[in-house]
Amino acid sequence: MKRSRSLAQKREVAAAFVFLAPNLIGFLALTAIPVLASFVLSFFDWKLLAPPHFIGLANFKELFSDPLFWKSTVNTAFFVFVKVPLTVIIALVLAIILNRKMLGRDLFRTILFLPVICSSVSVALIWQPLFDQSSGLLNQILHFFGSKGLPWLTSTFWAMPSVIGVAIWKEVGYVMVIFIAGLQGISKTYYEAARVDGANAFQEFFKITLPLISPTTFFVLVTSIIGAFQVFDLTSVLTQGGPGNATNTLVMYIFQSAFRNFRMGYASAMAMALFLLILALTVVQNQSSKRWVQE
């Protein structure tokens, strides 16, 4: 073994350092170290203006007995586990339809992608008047069918489903585009062979499309779930977490604790809880993926 590296190797290391440095410095200072800092902070009581002091696991103990934390967690979980599957199913169906050659295909793709480029804040604003209980479009449609209409955003029962509906509306186009890319990667020969064997459309879907698109489905599920757990913009503009905290989410509660009540340690503990939740779900998905994702 050579003791000293050759000149070329030293040069390569030096070059790597130069290439890496701008991103690495920012990444360490604003992402990697803050993750550790947040972990450390979660063991402190810190009101921002007073000096922090170590309180061990007290923040986590408080979290477990904080009804608003549980409410926000349940709300967030409900949002995630309703929104993500529905988005994925609708997007996959649309992707399969729009992957074929048909009249107006590009126009439909364009329309479906429109909400994707709008911010969640503007999407919330676009939908707000439509949810209006007396004169909103949705209730006018219901009136037409003889119904009294629904208290879309003002009832504790309907507020979250309404928010979920808007969230799906915004994201379906994005997931669809990713699915179309996945579908285009499936070789046509599979379908030709299936047709020779006399397979019908359902068999084609369940025996060819679904298994071969599974890596895309897996990617979409993992990233959508991570994203959905961080829901904030939609709920904070559309319902401000109300009525009666029915749409208060974990990130909204983290925001309130940290930047309205200035409880930095408590908010960090909550952020850690959110991270652990996401981590656990990602690990579970990764484990189960061996059973259903084709390589």
């Binding site: 790597a16 170290i33 480029i117 676009i126 939908w127 004169s135 895309t216 925001f255 960090s268 952020a271």
Partner: protein, 287 residues
């Protein structure tokens, strides 16, 4: 199978195909309507007079076309300021992300240095960490550095994403090494190999990162809410939320402002549609 039964079979198949086509057309029409109708309502309300918008949101067709609402938006709130702030922050973030991520990605994909794989794992690991985890320490850091209420806070937190480095590294790994070796023969150093061989070959991935960053930063809300206090530093999304937060909401102005805020991206989308859609499709690249 008798000839008769066979004919019936073909007939049945034809009918099934026609029905499935009708169902598909109906589904698509419904989906398209569900997207276009809310947007049509937005345009309609944005053109109503203030008194009409206050009384009645049920009818999207305004009694008169009040285009002056769009001007009022700029007069009632410093909307132009918000616009310029968002444009500036987005431009800085896109440039910063593209430059620093592509450089780091080149080091990870092509150069050997001690600790490379461990460091890359750290980058990869943070992809799973929700941004709210880093938000609080970032806030504390910026408070010490005096960057609260500065656009720099939004720019710095927008640039150094692990995602950009990860995406470009995966793409660079797919570029054949032989292409770079041709550069070595020509006496290129690392810098020229990077700028003259790797980058020109990576336009699709760079476009993807550009579009993903642009959409994220242009539409960012939480970070702006945390870091920005004064009116003159606000971004478009903050301005919209504040316009909405007023006690008696002037829906005609809110809708006009909403349309104005999405207009630049909308125009870009219509002209560069292929890049947007292909870019987003590639954003789901597998590791």
């Amino acid at each position: 199978m008798s000839k008769d039964a066979h004919m019936r079979n073909i007939e049945g198949y034809r009918i099934a195909r026609v029905i499935s086509r009708i169902v598909i057309a109906l589904v698509l029409a419904l989906v398209a309507a569900s997207i276009l109708v809310p947007m049509f309502w937005t345009v309609g309300i944005s053109l109503k007079s203030s008194s009409e918008a206050l009384k009645d949101l049920s009818n999207p067709i305004p009694k008169g076309l009040h285009f002056e609402n769009y001007l009022s938006v700029f007069k009632t709130i410093p909307f132009l300021r918000y616009f310029l702030n968002t444009i500036g922050i987005s431009a800085a973030c896109c440039a910063g992300t593209l430059i620093t991520s592509s450089m780091a990605a080149y080091a990870f994909a092509r150069l050997k240095f001690p600790g490379r794989d461990v460091l890359f794992l750290v980058y990869l690991g943070t992809l799973m960490v929700p941004r709210q985890v880093t938000l609080i320490p970032n806030f504390i850091l910026f408070r010490v550095a005096g960057l609260i209420d500065s656009p720099l806070a939004l720019i710095l937190t927008g640039i150094f994403t692990a995602y950009g480095t990860f995406l470009l590294r995966q793409f660079f790994l797919g570029i054949p090494r032989e292409l770079e070796e041709a550069g070595i023969i020509d006496g290129f150093g690392y810098g020229r190999r990077f700028t003259q061989i790797i980058l020109p070959l990576s336009k699709p991935a760079l476009t993807t990162l550009f579009i993903v960053t642009l959409l994220n930063i242009w539409n960012e809300y939480l970070y702006a809410l945390v870091f920005i206090n004064s009116d003159s530093k606000r971004t478009l999304t903050l301005g919209l939320a504040i316009l909405r937060g007023d006690f008696d909401v002037q829906w005609n102005l809110v809708m006009a402002a909403t349309l104005l805020a999405v207009l630049p991206l909308l125009i870009a989308y219509f002209f560069l549609q292929r890049f947007f859609v292909e870019g987003i499709a590639l954003s789901g690249i597998k590791g």
